[in-house]
Symmetry: C2
Subunit: 345 residues, 2 copies
């Protein structure tokens, strides 16, 4: 049965009630933040442990679900979202008679896992640059395929790393969750970017890239096509954004050159974090335009790397605001010192 998407009447936020993952109190005793052990479903020889793959790169011969792949994309075995529903996901056709208190729609969507490499112990920063390019190619290929489905409004791509980053399996992987509604955080960004454009005539992100290159104190690295920097209002200590220099609203419109450049940049940045910190947990979150609508005039896709060194707790959950103990100027300076190839002075 498909999961439910319920709308919180007090905030408008949507929650996926994922019944396939239902848990009683006693079940939490064993998962309590620990990563699963046992045979890894993402290693060579375990291909039968996952649902059949939807995409793979690197095999010399055409043999789906066999060994030999370099990157493999498979449906999540316990998906929070599924396409297994016929019919409308319009909110209007699913409201109750109780003044909008209890609104739910079917959790139509997809939930896929991008297995980054056959190497069980290779971290994001330990992959080769070619491997990073293959990973990004797999992700962009899924973006282009999934945007054809009219019921899907947004694809959230992300990577969870480390226990405190929310990774339940230690074999390095990214995730793709396509949803039938535009996420609240993306709507907030769209609104702010549009207002900035209306007020100033400029793209908020293009202008930020220019100002950061000019100021330099928050810059971590600049390449031909991208800028990596710790943003002015970093929510998390050592938060780092990677923003393309070319104005474009959608990640899936990245060029081949840009993709190769991003692979190098992302590899370098994550490697820097791995060298600066002792086993840093983090999330990498894609921010890109929704699939229906015209956002090209003002929105600008980017990646956010969010180290999870501080806990999101009562203040953050209550207010939506963050307390960050490390100014981004301090963070950027410290990270620059940890960059591979940095000469100790």
């Amino acid at each position: 049965m498909i999961s439910e998407l319920r709308r919180d009447p007090t905030s408008g936020a949507w929650v996926a009630i994922a019944s396939a993952r239902s848990r009683r109190p006693s079940d939490f005793r064993i998962i309590h933040g620990e990563q699963k052990t046992g045979t890894c479903p993402f290693c060579y020889g375990s291909e039968h442990m996952t649902p059949p793959e939807v995409f793979a790169l690197g095999r010399k011969i055409e043999a789906p679900n066999a060994e030999g792949w370099q990157v493999r994309v498979v449906p999540n075995k316990f998906p929070a979202f599924s396409l297994d529903y016929e019919g409308s996901v319009d909110i209007e056709s699913h409201t109750d008679g109780q003044d909008g208190l209890y609104v739910s729609i079917p959790a139509v969507g997809i939930h896929e896992v991008v297995v980054e490499s056959p190497e069980h112990d290779s971290t994001f920063g330990e992959h080769s640059e070619d491997q990073m390019e293959d990973i990004l190619t797999a992700i962009v290929t899924r973006f282009r395929a999934l945007r054809e489905d009219d019921r899907l409004k947004y694809l959230q791509a992300f990577k969870n790393w480390g226990r405190q980053g929310g990774a339940s399996l230690s074999h390095s992987h990214c995730q793709l969750i396509a949803v039938p509604i535009v996420p609240r955080e993306i709507q907030v960004e769209l609104d702010h970017a549009r207002q900035h454009k209306d007020r100033t005539g400029k793209c908020l992100y293009c202008q930020t890239v220019e100002e950061e290159i000019e100021g330099r104190e928050r810059v971590l690295e600049e390449s031909e096509h991208f800028l990596a920097f710790c943003p002015y209002a970093s929510k998390f200590p050592y938060e780092t954004w990677i923003v393309p220099k070319r104005h474009n609203e959608a990640f899936e419109e990245i060029s081949r050159d840009e993709l190769a450049d991003l692979a190098t940049m992302l590899h370098q940045v994550v490697r820097t974090f791995e060298l600066a910190f002792d086993d840093v947990p983090y999330n990498i979150v894609w921010h890109t335009a929704p699939w229906k609508g015209d956002f090209g005039a003002y929105y600008h896709w980017h990646l956010e790397l969010l180290p999870r060194l501080a806990t999101i707790a009562g203040f953050e959950l209550g207010t939506g605001y963050y307390i960050n103990p490390t100014a981004p100027e301090v963070a950027a300076a410290a990270l620059r010192e940890s960059m591979p190839g940095h000469a100790e002075g």
Copy 2:
């Protein structure tokens, strides 16, 4: 020097850059989620280890900062917010010339700790009901005192419990952070409550209480003045809200009878969580009206107990939406079975 509040131009969210807590990469190695050990600053005999108290209950004689207290409120030793600033906190007087990219105001506010009990090892659910009443009395007293300061717009009261709940000290305590801007999450709730009132003529929260009492399947406990239930769109597994039956926008307007009733209810609910789970991390978050403005017609204060059994990760950070593996109906049924005094069978 006072911390900075910086505004994220892409989302409008504010971040407190708390320089007094500045941390380089190597500092995170030791705090990486572990609770501090050593002499506890919240025990009898350690009163000199905290800044001088601003409120205390329970001493037989008037002797500030001596032993003998039952509840003690002290300024945070490393406050993210401080009143140590003369002058305006208007945003307009602090904008730069860069089209609003870099806006910062002084982090004017207060940051206090409510030490709940002299007993180092007593959990929230192990305190006596009298103790719970004293804790709530201390909090409401601070609400009433701090709302007199014109520069403060909102007081966020909360409790962090357990490592994954963000508690860095194990001696049970609550925290109070007063801020010079209305938090984003509260503004979202105000907007939704106002819209619901405009559309239906009803208070969103009053109506929810009525519907939940009628339906019962998500109800955990009902008392004379409060209802405890797992909300329809619970973001977290086993999330539980405590909502007053009497319509009122502000926690600090709670009556003496209601406060005693809330002490009993909160004690019972937290005790239930302690019995149902093995050492559950959680946050308790107060939701109440801002201090400037007229929200009485539509807003309704309440408490949210948010168990931290699932990790906030890439999907949640990217979208602002949550995946909850436990339907609130299942959660409420399981919690009812764990309630103190529940007869098995």
